[in-house]
Subunit: 276 residues, 2 copies
């Protein structure tokens, strides 16, 4: 159904909000830019791209919050202008569902299928089997800062503090556990909204870095994030773990908890396991 | 890119293969039928619908196996004719990615984004932190058979044997653990291919049935399945668990193991938690 898109809601300001901003160009078409400085091994971070595409879906549907979004990564995201084509499949009372496909020229970069809604009100029975990861205070964790190719430039856009046990891979002493725990925020404490959580769930070094396996890099095939609630201000506690490396694939499951101890997001990605 | 679709590969025969068969109608368009008898509370089972849409994607891409597929459920699937519109977004050497949208008349029922490939060859380093669920032999488990509205007619299309500890909900003695373990096969031991695994991951009673919470039914918003390998013949061992019921949602994570003890699929769905 054709409609004039409204300006994507992006109430926050800061480097991440700017880097993910989208502008309406035509019905179901948005213009945006993959900014330089968000790349890992020459390709823009997958969570950053998913957040950008989701801002277009939020604009197209008029719904501010991703509830469940899935991205399939089709080709590398290089810095430069991109076009995002959105299609609304259903607009319901509570949710709207649509697709967003990002193109660099005619090359598809990313395909997203998402259901969005309004997470400002949320209630229901609670059962929480799990807890935020235990972490030393951020200043006692290991800060990941860019240094040329590795750690990559992207690490300058986020403020990651790794659990010391999970950071030892950097000095060649893998823990042997495919686990990555740490704190997440943006530099300068730029507010993290529900869309920015999509960046948090793909910001940490791969869990495979801590496995004692001949694995070098694990490109993401697909990433799905479930957002339960808008995060409270402050540091986010994150935990990523892999249980199954097999048949050339691995999954990486993530949990993000806000400063009030509330689970705000879950993620799972399927990644390729090339031999190292 | 327009192309004449080839007949969807469906090498197996049997009730499930017939019930999920799709016929090419035009470029990027497929006809199929939601068969009566596959419903739960009047709506066709979500995994059954996902398998049907994935057969259309397999036909459109010429790739036999789902690698990662995500379905968003838009409206109830009622028995009758449906039309599936497929769009290929990328065709690579190893994988192809596309969307499939199922319509009943003009009403969208299901939207799928999937990456497909060929899983006949799979290799790589292995790390398995987990094991198939311990289950009594199928004949010592609890068979779920349809009986009017509950258990629903769908249970006649699959042969489920629940772990006795997880089946006690049926007599009002919930275990208190949102867990559901059991065996899966088709009646008459119809072979289970990689597409049929999409039915297996959504075939069991909801984990919420075993939670001591005021929850009656949990409609699926979104279901993602990762298929690692084609299953060997024989019973499949399945395990579904929920860790987080919060903010009106719950996730249900599934694992499917084949008769050789190999992990063949993982699933996660996001479901709504209406008050019971």
């Amino acid at each position: 159904m054709a409609r004039i898109p409204v300006l994507a809601r992006c109430p926050l300001t800061g480097p991440f909000a700017s880097a993910t901003a989208v502008q309406p160009a035509a019905a179901g078409e948005w213009l945006a830019s993959i900014d330089a400085g968000w790349e890992i091994a020459g390709n823009a971070n997958g969570g950053y791209l998913l957040a950008m595409a989701t801002r277009a879906l939020a604009g197209a549907t008029g719904r501010p919050d991703p509830v469940t979004v899935t991205a399939h990564y089709l080709s590398p995201g290089r810095p430069g202008s991109v076009r995002i084509v959105t299609q609304i499949l259903k607009e319901g009372k509570r949710f709207a569902t649509g697709t967003a496909t990002m193109f660099s020229g005619t090359r598809p970069v990313l395909a997203v299928l998402g259901t969005l809604g309004d997470l400002s009100q949320a209630e229901g029975p609670e059962l929480i089997e799990g807890a935020p990861p235990e972490l030393p205070a951020p200043e006692r964790c290991v800060r990941v800062q860019p240094a040329g190719a590795f750690p990559p430039p992207f690490m300058g856009q986020v403020d990651l503090r790794l659990h010391p046990d999970d950071a030892a891979f950097a000095t060649g002493r893998q823990s042997g556990q495919p686990l990555m725990r740490g704190w997440f925020r943006f530099p300068g404490a730029e507010p993290v909204d529900s869309v920015a959580l999509l960046c948090a769930v793909d910001a940490f070094p791969p869990t495979a870095f801590n496995a004692r396996l001949p694995i070098a890099w694990t490109p993401t095939v697909e990433l799905t994030a479930h957002i339960r609630a808008r995060p409270a201000p402050g540091w986010l506690r994150c935990r990523f773990a892999t249980r199954f490396v097999s048949a050339g694939f691995l999954e990486e499951d993530g949990e993000v908890w806000d400063s009030t101890g509330r689970l705000v997001g879950q993620s799972r990605q399927l990644a390729l396991v090339p031999r190292g």
